[in-house]
């Protein structure tokens, strides 16, 4: 689709969001919860907390729920009956199971928005994951460009930028009477044109009137990070650096792009369900073999795995880094392990080796 540009006043954006709520859409926005901000359902525009840089967690759970029901079963006598979730929205009313309600994320940041299409690649690589796709298809993303990234942000280095529209259906930029809007996808257009009232809130403008992106400069070259990882699997760097890692997995759980899961059955003798739960490569048990052998025995091995996956393997396979540079892993790390610092260090080390 050809991108379209609009201007919308502050009052109108509020009206627009409230209209979306009124149209029985599930609208998710950054929302204050006891002093911290999380993505959560809002019922009014005023619930949205748009002043903060980033919510503590990404909205990953709307694409890959923390726990997702794959199917349910019941046993009577010697009969086992399987209930396909296609027939049923799942026990928690839509978040789990294949079927999904239409869900609109309002006020996400470009980094979070970028995670969707990056993850979409792995969920459609050989096996088409209907559970993911159904939700992805029904997820509408309205992001707001960042003005002031913080010390932990490195979206520019991760090949996005504070103003990137990658993954967004609509990208808003502050300015004018309120916001300028860039509509990138049909889905974005669908939201604007959902009612004539909504359409009336947006004033179309020429592309030139839309503010140009700033010249964001990358502080280091992520390709060099990849270059180092390519050649230095056995580097002592990993073992030394991650002595301070306690393997809590917060980096993976708060990461918008980490997508590992674990499949489990739960239930009684008569009925139950198969579910998939979030998992983390930072846990010792993640690669523990039944024999007792563990190929990734130290935390250094595990964190290296995380780096390799994000900055080498994924890019080799899908031509995208599995990182949007949101910096949540660093901000949330209880031991102050800083991914931006690490990727930057690795790129410098690559420089030093090649010189």
């Amino acid at each position: 689709m050809e991108e379209k540009y609009y201007e919308i006043s502050s009052d109108n954006i509020e009206k627009f969001v409230n209209n979306l709520v009124a149209q029985n859409n599930e609208v998710i926005a950054p929302k204050d919860k006891d002093g911290d901000t999380f993505y959560d359902k809002i019922t009014d525009f005023k619930d949205a907390d748009l002043n903060i840089l980033l919510p503590k967690l990404s909205f990953k759970e709307y694409l890959l729920p923390k726990t997702e029901t794959l199917f349910e079963y019941s046993i009577s006598g010697s009969n086992i009956n399987i209930l396909d979730p296609l027939e049923n929205a799942g026990a928690d009313g839509g978040n789990s199971g294949k079927k999904s309600v239409k869900r609109i994320i309002f006020g996400s940041r470009p980094c979070d928005a970028g995670a969707g299409p990056i993850m979409e690649k792995v969920f459609n690589w050989d096996y088409k994951d209907e559970f993911f796709n159904e939700k992805f298809k029904n997820l509408y993303i309205i992001s707001i460009a960042c003005v002031q990234p913080d010390n932990y942000c490195f979206c520019t280095e991760a090949q996005l930028s504070p103003e990137s529209s990658y993954g967004s259906d609509i990208l808003l930029k502050k300015g004018g009477s309120g916001y300028y809007a860039k509509v990138i996808t049909e889905k974005g257009l669908e939201l604007i044109n959902s009612t004539s009232e909504n359409a009336g809130l947006f004033k179309e403008i020429p592309k030139e009137a839309f503010p140009a992106d700033k010249d964001w400069k990358a502080a280091f070259d992520i390709k060099k990070t990849q270059g180092f990882l390519d050649k230095n699997f056995t580097s002592s760097y990993f073992q030394e650096k991650f002595l301070s890692c306690i393997g809590c997995g917060i980096c993976t759980y708060t990461c918008p792009t980490c997508h590992c899961f674990d499949i489990q059955d739960e239930g009684t003798n008569e009925k139950g369900k198969r579910i998939r739960n979030w998992d983390s490569c930072q846990f010792g048990i993640f690669t523990l073999h039944t024999s007792g052998h563990n190929p990734r025995v130290t935390q250094g091995d595990r964190y290296r795995q995380r780096l390799m996956h994000k900055f080498k393997v994924y890019n080799e396979k899908f031509n995208k880094y599995l990182c949007v540079g949101c910096g949540r892993c660093s901000r949330n790390c209880p031991e102050d392990i800083d991914l931006r610092e690490i990727t930057s260090e690795l790129s410098l080390m690559e420089d030093n080796i090649t010189q």
């Binding site: 349910e72 079963y73 019941s74 009577s76 009956n81 399987i82 209930l83 027939e87 049923n88 026990a91 739960e266 239930g267 009684t268 008569e270 009925k271 139950g272 369900k273």
Partner: protein, 163 residues
């Protein structure tokens, strides 16, 4: 055929509950699981039988060697699987067949009860008793009283079951 399956499961699932009392269970008597030691309380319950005493049918006994083996987490498991009340019973202090199993467990139960209650589980749903092999009558009264108490408790959910 497919419709039947769906219906079947939906019926079986009741009101979307897996862990605790579903619709199917509503008209049923509340179930009580009793974890008892092999030497005192189990024999006490047997004595109630040989003495032909009568008590409420709600209790299901799980026999373990000693109160010391009765992990407080069994209580959690029982609630998870739909028990409305859980009884833990063993030898009186000083009478433990293994000398100290009941003493060790008593400490754990003390802390465990407080924790359960603090986290919002109605502690009336967990009962502890010392019942010796000669106290068939005590077994009967503990079961009857506990069953009556459980029947009077509101059927609200706790943190172990889904809303």
């Amino acid at each position: 055929m497919e419709n039947n399956i769906v219906e079947d499961v939906q019926n079986a699932r009741g009101d979307k509950e897996y862990s605790a009392g579903g619709a199917k269970d509503k008209d049923k008597e509340p179930r009580i699981i009793a974890f008892v030691c092999n030497w005192c309380t189990y024999n006490g319950a047997d004595l109630a039988g040989t003495s032909r005493m009568k008590y409420a049918e709600n209790v299901r006994v799980i026999k373990l060697p000693c109160t010391g083996r009765i992990d407080p987490l069994f209580v959690v498991e029982a609630f998870k699987k739909g028990a409305k009340g859980v009884l833990v019973s063993g030898c009186h202090p000083g009478d433990c067949h293994y000398t100290s199993g009941n003493y060790h467990s008593r400490r754990k139960y003390t802390a465990f009860r407080d924790l359960l209650s603090y986290l919002g589980v109605d502690i009336n749903r967990v009962e502890f008793s010392w019942i010796s092999a000669s106290e068939g009558n005590k077994w009967v009264s503990v079961i009857n009283e506990f069953t009556n108490k459980i029947k009077l408790l509101p059927d609200n959910s706790d943190i172990f079951s889904k809303k």
